[in-house]
Amino acid sequence: MSDTFQLDGAAVPFEPGQTVMQAALAAGHYIPHLCYHPEFKPHGSCKLCTVKVNGRTTASCTMPAEAGLSVESDIEELNALRRTLVQMLFAEGNHFCPSCEKSGNCVLQALGYDLEVHATGFRHLYPDRPIDASHPDILLDFNRCVLCELCVRASSEVDGKNVFALAGRGITKHLIVNSESGLLKDTDIALTDKAMEVCPVGVILRKRVGFSQPIGERRYDKSPISTQALQDAPRIPSGAKHD
C-alpha cells in the first residue's frame, strides 16, 4: 500500500517526490491553480492553489506530500482568498475578455467563472504595456500577462532557448524577450516552440488565426476548468497501488 494524506476528508495516495497538488490531481481531486502546469517544475507564485496543511496556509503545488497530512482546500475561507487573488490579477493587467482572442480558452477567465468572481473588486491599475508586433508570425500582447512564467520555463526547460524572461521588481515586474532591441523579431523563437503553447492567457498569439474557433465552442465553454484540469492531469502514476 502507498502512503496517503487527507484532502478535504478523502484519502489521497502519493508517490515520494510528489507535491500535494500533483498527488491530488492524479487522484482526481481538483485544487484551483494558474501558474502550475503538470509538465513543468512547480514554482508557486500565483498562490491560487493555497491550501491549509495541518492548519497552516501554503501553496499546494510546491508543498511536498507527506503521509498523514491533513489538507483543506475546498472551503469557503480559501475560495474567498482565491477570488480575491483572481480579482488582483484582473486589476493588475489590462484584461478585456469580450475582444480577447483567448476568451473561452483563457485560464484566468475560466478561473473567474469557476470561482464565481462576480465583480472586479479592486480599482484597476491600468499599466502601460505596449504590444510587440515585430515578429512576422507571432504577436505578444503583454497587457494580459499574469507573470506565471510558464513561457519562461517552457522556453528554457523544453526549447533550450531562453526566449522569455522577467524584468523589473514588485508591481513593475514584466515579461521581456531575449534580444538587445527588446523585440521578439530579434529572438530565435519559432512557431513550433513549446513556449508558443503554454500561455494560460492571451499574451503569446499566432498571427492570422484570430477567432478561427467561434466563442461558445471553446475549451472552457464546454466544461468548467475544474473538470478540464482533471482531464488534463496525469492519472494515478503506474507505481502507485491502492490497498
Binding site: L81, N162, G170, T172, E180
Partner: protein, 588 residues
C-alpha cells in the same frame, strides 16, 4: 570589460557583482556592455536585464552624472527630508525621478539608508552623506553644478558616527582579534556547536532561531561543500546596529564566522553587505587581509591542518528583500533576490544548493562572545528564553538617538528614559515589519518571550500622525516587494493606493474594510515574510490609533477612488492654467 570579466573568472554567479562594477564605472549599464557581458559569461542577454532591473541601484538607462537619492525612512521625513529634496530639485531645476536635460543630475527617494540617528541622509553615486540641512543641500547643489568630483567634496559630508550611547558585553569587549578562535580551536567544531547550543543563543536578525541548532543541522547535513554566510543586508528601516558592528567590531564578526566554519565544516564564507554600506567595503577588505596575514583565515588556520576557510564580500544593490535568507542566497548566486520555496531550508540546501549557515552580523559577534565566556556565564545574562544582550538602534523623537546595548528583558520604558524621549505616543519595534506599541504597553519587555526585535526602535511623540507613519511603511513595502507572488505584488500596491486615497481625503469606512481584507489575503497567502508582515503597520496603528484614520474619512460608506479634478492635472499643466476656473468643484 574583458579585464572585469576575467578578474571574476568568467563566473556567471558573480553577475550581480560584475554589474555593480559596471554601474560604478559607467553610471549605468549600457546595452553594448550588456551584450558583451552576456557573450563573455555565456548567458542569455535577457538575463542581464532580468537581474539588473531587480536592484534599485542598477540602471539600464543613463542616469545623471550625479545620482542623488534621499533616504525616505519615516525618521528622515521627521527630520525634514521631504522639504530638503524639494529644495534640491528647485535649485537644480528638475523633478524627482527625472534626469536633468543636460544629463547632469537625477534626484529621487530611496529606502532607509541606515543613518536614522544622523539623518536626514542621502546617497550620491552610492556614497553616504549624513546630517542634511538646507545649508548643506545648497552646498551640494553648488558642487554638482560645478561638476566637482565627489572625491573633492568636503570630507565632513561623508562622516558617519557610531553614536554608541550604552555599551555592554558586546560593545565593551576588549578581546584581541584571534583570541576566541585560538581558545576554541583545540576542542574542535563539535564543541563549538555544543557550547552555542548550551548558551541559548538565538539569531539576532529578528526570527530568533536557536543558533546552535542551526549550526548543528548544517554540520550534519550532507553536501559536497558547506558554506557560512553573514547577512549584513541591514535593510529594515530604523535599524543601523550592524553598520556600527561592521565599523567597530569587524574582527569579532569575522571571528564568529570562522568559528561557525569550524563548527559546520565550511571552507568558504560570504559577507553580504547592503549596497547602502558600500563605503565599508574597503575597510572590511583590509580587516580580512590582516586576518589572512595573521593566519586567522586561509589555509591551515592557526596551524591546524585541514582547517581552511576564507571570506568574500558580496555587495547588494538596493533590495530590502535580500535580507530574507533564501533571497540573499539567490542574490549571492548572481540572480534576482527572490525568496525560494521552503522546504528545503538553507541549512541543507543553501548556496549552490549546499548546506549553508546564514546568520546575522550581530549573531556572529554574540556567538564569539558566548564561546569566550562559556555557555553558563552567557546564559546567565538576559532572560530565560532570550540569553545575552541585544543592540538597539534608537531613532526618531528622542534627545539621544544611537546604539544602545541592553541585556534582553529591558522594558520599552527604560529605553525611552535612557534616550531622553518625552511625550512619547508610540514606538515602532523592529521596523515596519515589527510591532507598533502604544503608551499602555511601554512596560513590555524586549525579548523572544514578549517583543522580539531585530533592533529597530523608532520613537514617535505626540506631535506625530501615526497614520502617516503607517503610510510611509506601506509605501516602503510596495516599493520593496519582489513581485514574485500575486498577493504581495498586487496587494501591497493596492494597499498603498488605498492609504493614499485616505490621505487625500477620499477615504471611507469601505476603504478601512478593504484594508482589513487585504491584510487577511497578504497574511495567509504571501510567499515570504515581506508580504505576510506588510500589513502590520496598518493593523497595529489601526488598533492603537483608529481615530488617526477615522478623522481622515469621509462619512460615506463608499467614495470612488477616481478623482476627476486630479485627472485633469495633466491637461492643466499642458495648457498652463491653474486658476480657479480650471478646477472642478468637488461634489459632496
Amino acid at each position: 570589460m574583458d579585464d572585469l570579466v576575467s578578474r571574476h573568472g568568467g563566473d556567471a554567479t558573480l553577475l550581480l557583482q560584475i554589474l555593480i562594477e559596471v554601474q560604478e564605472h559607467f553610471g549605468h549599464i549600457p546595452p553594448a556592455v550588456a551584450t558583451r557581458l552576456a557573450t563573455s559569461l555565456d548567458i542569455p542577454y535577457a538575463r542581464i536585464e532580468n537581474v539588473a532591473s531587480f536592484y534599485s541601484f542598477l540602471h539600464l538607462k543613463p542616469q545623471g552624472e550625479y545620482r542623488v537619492l534621499f533616504s525616505d525612512n519615516i525618521t528622515d521625513r521627521m527630520l525634514g527630508s521631504e522639504a530638503l529634496m524639494e529644495q534640491m530639485c528647485q535649485l537644480l531645476w528638475l523633478q524627482p525621478g527625472k534626469v536633468s536635460e543636460d544629463g547632469l543630475v537625477s534626484i529621487g527617494p530611496t529606502s532607509c539608508t541606515g543613518m536614522c540617528d544622523q539623518g536626514p541622509a542621502m546617497l550620491v553615486n552610492g556614497r553616504t552623506i549624513t546630517r542634511l540641512t538646507h545649508q548643506r543641500v545648497q552646498e551640494i547643489a553648488q558642487l554638482i553644478r560645478n561638476r566637482t568630483p565627489l572625491s573633492d567634496w568636503p570630507a565632513d559630508f561623508f562622516k558617519v558616527d557610531d553614536d554608541v550611547r550604552r555599551g555592554g558585553l558586546l560593545l565593551d569587549n576588549k578581546l584581541a582579534y584571534g583570541e576566541v578562535l585560538h581558545a576554541a580551536l583545540p576542542a574542535g567544531g563539535l564543541n563549538i556547536v555544543d557550547v552555542i547550543k548550551a548558551s541559548g543563543l538565538r539569531g539576532r536578525g529578528g526570527a530568533g532561531f536557536p543558533t546552535g541548532q542551526k549550526w548543528e543541522a548544517c554540520r550534519n547535513a550532507e553536501g559536497n561543500r558547506h558554506f557560512v554566510v553573514c547577512n549584513a543586508d541591514e535593510g529594515e528601516p530604523g535599524t543601523f546596529k550592524d553598520r556600527v558592528l561592521l565599523t567597530r567590531q569587524a574582527d569579532l564578526v569575522f571571528e564568529g564566522m570562522t568559528l561557525c566554519a569550524l563548527a559546520v565544516g565550511a571552507r568558504k564564507g560570504f559577507l553580504y553587505l547592503r549596497g547602502e554600506y558600500r563605503y565599508l567595503l574597503e575597510p572590511l577588505r583590509a580587516v580580512l587581509q590582516r586576518r589572512r596575514d595573521s593566519n586567522l583565515l586561509g589555509e591551515s588556520i592557526l596551524g591546524k591542518p585541514g582547517f581552511d576557510f576564507d571570506i568574500d564580500i558580496h555587495l547588494g544593490a538596493g533590495a530590502y528583500i535580500c535580507g530574507e535568507e533564501s533571497a540573499l542566497i539567490e542574490s549571492l548566486e548572481g540572480k534576482r533576490g527572490v525568496p525560494r520555496n521552503r522546504p528545503p531550508f538553507p541549512v541543507t540546501h543553501g548556496y549552490m544548493m549546499q548546506p549553508t549557515a546564514v546568520d546575522n552580523v550581530e549573531t556572529f559577534c554574540q556567538a564569539a562572545l558566548a564561546m569566550h565566556m562559556g555557555a553558563d556565564k552567557y546564559r546567565a545574562i538576559g532572560t530565560e528564553k532570550s540569553s545575552g544582550s541585544k543592540l538597539i538602534s534608537v531613532s526618531g523623537d528622542c534627545a539621544y538617538p544611537g546604539i544602545y546595548e541592553y541585556p534582553f528583558g529591558v522594558t520599552v520604558r527604560e529605553i525611552l528614559q535612557d534616550c531622553g524621549a518625552v511625550n512619547t505616543r508610540a514606538v515602532q519595534i523592529s521596523g515596519p515589519s515589527g510591532i507598533c506599541v502604544g503608551e499602555n504597553e511601554f512596560n513590555r519587555k524586549l525579548g523572544f518571550e514578549d517583543l522580539p526585535t531585530a533592533g529597530a526602535f523608532m520613537v514617535f511623540d505626540d506631535s506625530r500622525d501615526m497614520f502617516e507613519v503607517a503610510r510611509n511603511f506601506v509605501h516602503f513595502f510596495a516599493h520593496e516587494s519582489c513581485g514574485f507572488c500575486t498577493p504581495c505584488r498586487v496587494g501591497t500596491s493596492i494597499l498603498k493606493q488605498t492609504l493614499d486615497k485616505i490621505a487625500d481625503g477620499h477615504g471611507t469606512q469601505y476603504d478601512l474594510a478593504e484594508v482589513e481584507n487585504l491584510d487577511r489575503v497578504l497574511q495567509t497567502s504571501s510567499h515570504c515574510g515581506l508580504g505576510r508582515t506588510a500589513c502590520n503597520p496598518v493593523l497595529h496603528t489601526l488598533k492603537h490609533f483608529r481615530p488617526a484614520y477615522e478623522n481622515k474619512l469621509k462619512s460615506l460608506m463608499f467614495s470612488p477612488a477616481f478623482d476627476l479634478d486630479g485627472s485633469l492635472a495633466r491637461a492643466r499643466q499642458m495648457t498652463g492654467r491653474d486658476d480657479a476656473g480650471a478646477h472642478l468643484k468637488e461634489t459632496e
